[in-house]
Amino acid sequence: MAADPARRPGAFGQIIRTSAFKLSAVYLVIFLIFAVFVLGYIAWNTRRLLDAQITETIETEIAALAEQYRQGGMRRLITIIERRGRQSGSFIYLLVDARGDSITGNAILRVPALQQNPGWTEARFNWPDEPEEVQRLARLRVFVLPSGVRLFVGRDLEERARLNEVIRRARGWSLVMVLLLGGFGAWFVTKRVLARVDAIAASSARIMEGSLSERLPVSNTDDEFDRLAHHLNQMLDRIGELMAGLRELSGNVAHDLRTPLTRLRNGAEESLRKATTLAESREALERAIEESDQLIRIFDALLMIARAEAGNLAQSLQPLAVDEMLSGIAELYEPLAEEAGMPLSVAIEPGLMLRANRELIGQAIANLLDNALKYGKPEPDVPDGTAGIDLAARRAGETIEIAVTDRGAGIPAGDRERVTERFVRLDPSRAQPGFGLGLSLVAAVARLHGGQLRLEDNAPGLRAVLALPALADPGLADPALARGPRLADDRGDASA
């Protein structure tokens, strides 16, 4: 994307617009304010400390001078001041008489000495060997002695000024540094985030353009971008699976409908060639209608399987009473089963509830019963009186098992997986009507309801078990049901 020349001029604007940059800028401002505050606080505190120190040293010096004055009077004071004033880095001493003339001292005051009232003050001064332009600031204590003589004792505040200067410079520098580092950091972070986002955007653009197998880049740092990309990749995988399923299904449907369509067309062509009488033509037309009806049924069955497999029927699932449902279907099939010499016996546990689509479950059970009626006739060597079909429903833990059992030839173990595939028929003679879709529909319906179809050996015969998750809280005051959830709790405790 960065290589795209059309977007180049907007690169800076693009960075500024990013949320990462805005966040960095906000942080930068907060940091600046904080830095200025900290520096100001340090400066203010240091200055206070320095002032206190200066005051204290001056006080000590004054105490010493006062002691000398008490012992030796003015003369002693002058001597001391003259001696101490010559030492380097010394205090400022100044003795001025009542008229304002300097008696002795090591500094020249730049303000009229007589205007200085007793107490603490700050005033400008020079050392005598300096040119007049140099202006120094001193902190002074002024005393008026009994003779009207004023004594100034103080210290040069050069140190404090130097400190102020240092702090001012530090403030400037730190401002520049923070701005520089912060700006660079913001730019760097934004650039990095943008790179990740751009990579994801580029990948998704390519995926949208059709390279559906591509996935978003994951950097393995397990950061928020990785998590996002990971989730999006999972979503893409799921979409891919669904699309593959759809592709496979439409391919299958096209293939599966081709055979009966060919048969229909061949039949029509043949009768066009051979039929000479009206009766023959009518018969051919009736056959064609029958064939197309079959085609429609195949189509309906395939659609139903497809819909069940697509799994988007969730909103049509409703609480369903198993005993009511099954006894209804049993009642529907009873006469037919009896006529076929395989009486239907029913054993349904009361109070079982499913969350299911009534039509689909009904169709699935009807398919199982149809199969049992078609293929459940006992082998010739089995003694008479054992023929029959069982329809049973019971609760097994968290699932409800609906079983249709016959006593026919059953399905060889090796074929049980295969018969649930579409259009698989085990009977090579194709003596029974059907398309080989019955069990695939049952399996699809079971999957849709979160369950499964199990084909077991009944020795002899087939036991087809539709195992579906039971409805958790049927809201019925049936003691057998009320026990259900508690059992689950007990098991949970035992494993904990």
């Binding site: 006469p335 037919l336 009904g362």
Partner: protein, 226 residues
Amino acid sequence: MKLLVVEDDQEAGRYLVRALGEAGHVADLATDGEQGLEMALAGAYDVLIIDRMLPKRDGLSLITALRAEKRTVPVLILSALGQVDDRVLGLRAGGDDYLTKPYAFTEALARIEALARRQNPQSAQLTYRVADLELDRLAHRVTRGGEEIPLQPREFRLLEYLMRHAGQVVTRTMLLENVWDYHFDPQTNVIDVHISRLRGKIDRGPGPALLHTVRGAGYMIRDNGR
């Protein structure tokens, strides 16, 4: 009967109109939803046959608009969407019956005639009579020639449905939907066995057979002597 077919596919619409005409009905054709609604509001039709997907105004909104005008004329919905929830949607919008395309004409005709009969107030009689066969809905009693015939509850409901539509063809799917309330498709002819049992009970005596099989379509209860 006067019927209105609302179908945008010209060929399918004309075929249905022609076939209904051959069956002795008068059918008009509308080719879009707006025209269909106009004609349905203006004309006195016995049954409307409405395709679900129509230009200008779809079938369901046509029915809703019609019902909002307090028209109770029965509606048969024709649709290429044969899925369970689509049927429920169609009936909820105010349709009375639902038939999936492609359909057999006999099935459509049987349903149209059944709908027209339902509209007839006499259809909800307390007793039905065909020749000397009598069904008393209140007493839950069936007699033929004055002699009581004991029936299972389901057999009673089966006979009740057949007699309510006496003289009309009733298809297997109609029986499955109305007597058993199943909207799926059992592949073997489970209904036939129920019918033959019922027939064994009501047509056992010396009188003429009343319960007939209509080849390629379904069943009909009828007094042949009349």
